[in-house]
């Protein structure tokens, strides 16, 4: 097979002085490939089935969000923020809205805060369900995917009812939310929680504790805790490595300090701490915690008009802020610089999946091609967010 001479030399290359070594095989995984979760290209250098080096190439979904943001007014940015991590739009909106509110000193109505938490946690469940399903697909099990989407569909129906949209909600606004919950909506959320919780057992029976699945994911793509922190991993990918760190607990924002829930960490139950199975199972258990939060929020939600404090014209004084919040993928940070004008000077997004993906070259050497798919899937990347 002809060798591609344009292969860029990177420092990730493993130098193997084995004299009996055969030629390595250069493989382009992506940008069109079923398990790169979008348009990611990973250049693989393989020795048979074994990966020697993997170099991710990103940017195929770059939509110049940061440049756009410089020309948009503050509320106009929200629909763009929606489109970054399209699987967790609510969480993205929440982070942005909170950042601007903190910078501009805008108060938020109690009821609006509760509604925000409810939709954000529901969106977390929806996002984890997509992860669960697609991870099953990566490993070769098709059925969990449809079970997961069956439940996600219900969440999306709920979102459609409250925000009018199924994927890109533009629901959480600066200063509040776009609409109050329609009549009976909160009851429907409670019904969903009751319906959803037993389903987690079904996923576990079908996928999590399946021996083949465990064999495929346990001890694969192990990320030790110190490496994870050094690479800036966050969210379930970091917690999978056994680091008990959740922004909702460690750096509480919105009203998360009022809720009682556990931070799930990987325990290496089926292999080593920090392997793909741990990262997977952290997410499965997190869904249960999210249900817990939603239930508490439903119990405590006060009456009121969540729109009362939404300003007609958002005025942001000069200043800057770095605000981080926990999305399903990890720490979503907004670095916003304002000069007091109607547009921001700079909106830099610290996307969690961006940092999470950057660890791939470090864990890939020595894995098999099939393992690489498992390890990549367990990082739960969304290319919309990485490329922005």
């Amino acid at each position: 097979m002809a060798q591609n001479n344009n292969f860029p030399e990177t420092r990730y290359e493993l130098i193997n002085p084995d004299p009996l070594k055969t030629d390595e095989y250069i493989l382009n995984m992506g940008p069109q490939h079923p398990s790169t979760h979008g348009v990611l290209r990973v250049l693989l250098k393989t020795d048979g089935e074994i990966v020697e080096a993997a170099t991710p190439y990103i940017g195929y979904l770059h939509r110049t969000f940061e440049k756009h943001a410089e020309r948009m007014t503050w509320p106009q940015i929200v629909p763009y923020v929606d489109r970054m991590d399209y699987l967790a739009s609510m969480n993205n909106d929440l982070g942005y809205a909170l950042a601007v509110e903190k910078l501009a000193g805008i108060e938020v109505n109690e009821r609006a805060s509760y509604l925000r938490v409810i939709v954000a946690e529901l969106n977390r469940i929806a996002s984890h369900l997509v992860f669960l399903g697609t991870y099953g697909l990566d490993i070769g099990a098709f059925t969990p995917f449809l079970y997961a989407f069956r439940e996600r569909e219900r969440i999306i129906d709920l979102f459609e009812e409250i925000s009018g949209s199924r994927l890109l909600y533009n629901y959480i606004w600066i200063g509040g939310v776009a609409w109050d919950a329609p009549e009976g909506w909160l009851q429907k959320v409670a019904d969903f929680c009751d319906y959803f919780e037993p389903k987690i057992k079904e996923y576990n029976d079908l996928l999590s504790f399946n021996k083949i699945f465990i064999d495929r994911t346990a001890n694969v793509g192990v990320i030790p805790a110190d490496l994870a922190i050094n690479y800036g991993l966050s969210g379930p990918s970091l917690r999978g490595s056994g680091v008990k760190f959740d922004l909702r607990k460690n750096d509480p924002y919105c009203i998360y300090d009022r809720f009682d829930f556990d931070v799930i960490v990987g325990e290496g139950a089926k292999g080593t701490v920090g392997d793909s199975w741990d990262r997977y199972f952290v997410r499965v258990q997190e869904m249960r915690e999210s249900v817990k939060i939603v239930r508490q929020a439903l119990k405590d939600i006060p009456d009121g008009d969540p729109k009362e404090k939404v300003p007609r014209n958002v005025r942001v004084p000069a200043g800057e802020i770095y605000f981080r919040s926990e999305t399903p993928r990890g720490e979503l940070g907004y670095y916003i610089v304002s000069n007091g004008g109607k547009n921001p000077v700079r909106v830099k997004v610290r996307a969690p999946a961006f940092s999470n993906l950057s660890i791939l070259p470090a864990i890939a050497p020595g894995l098999m091609v099939a393992d690489l798919v498992a390890a990549l899937g367990s990082l739960d990347i969304v290319l919309g967010e990485i490329d922005r």
Partner: protein, 167 residues
């Protein structure tokens, strides 16, 4: 640890490299010179009093005359934060890399290089990351002019240009 103490401790060691402390603002920051960023970063990570093991974000900024790099640091163990800032002139935007201290800085620095043209010295693999390898210019600079076309693909639509002109 408060920003003031961090500033004092850094000042004791690096003296002139530490320019100023601003703790009037929402999130206090320390301004440092660009040529010693890596040493300062190393101390921030390794000193027992600091232990900033987590680089939350590394952002490039266009400040008009200068280009800025902002580091947002966090310590998982001690649960404190600090913002580090540095500025370099646009003609010679050289900043020392911190990617051997926090590996996550690798991609963030590549992004800052890609979009703002900040040159990180000693970075092992400073290539464009989001834009195509043969793209010209650094789009997040305020004076950036997009090209008319790229490999025969029109980049700026003429209609939009007219409108911009009218505005």
């Amino acid at each position: 640890m408060e920003a003031k103490d961090i500033y004092q401790k850094l000042k004791d060691r690096f003296q002139d490299a530490i320019l100023e402390l601003n703790d009037e603002v929402l999130q206090p920051y320390i301004k440092v010179t660009a040529d010693q960023v890596d040493e300062i970063a190393e101390m921030l990570r390794d000193d027992d009093a600091f232990q900033f093991d987590y680089l939350m974000s590394l952002s490039g900024l266009d400040l008009g005359e200068n280009l800025g790099v902002v580091y947002h640091l966090y310590s998982m163990k001690l649960n404190h934060k600090i913002v580090l800032k540095t500025e370099v002139p646009k003609e010679k935007p050289d900043v020392k890399t911190v990617c051997h201290i926090w590996r996550t800085a690798d991609w963030h620095e590549r992004e800052a290089y890609d979009l703002l043209g900040i040159n990180f010295l000693n970075h092992p693999d400073l290539r464009r990351i989001l834009l195509p390898e043969d793209w010209e210019g650094h789009p997040l600079r305020k004076d950036y002019q997009p090209p008319k076309s790229w490999h025969g693909i029109p980049v700026t639509l003429e209609k939009e240009e007219d409108e911009d002109g009218a505005k």
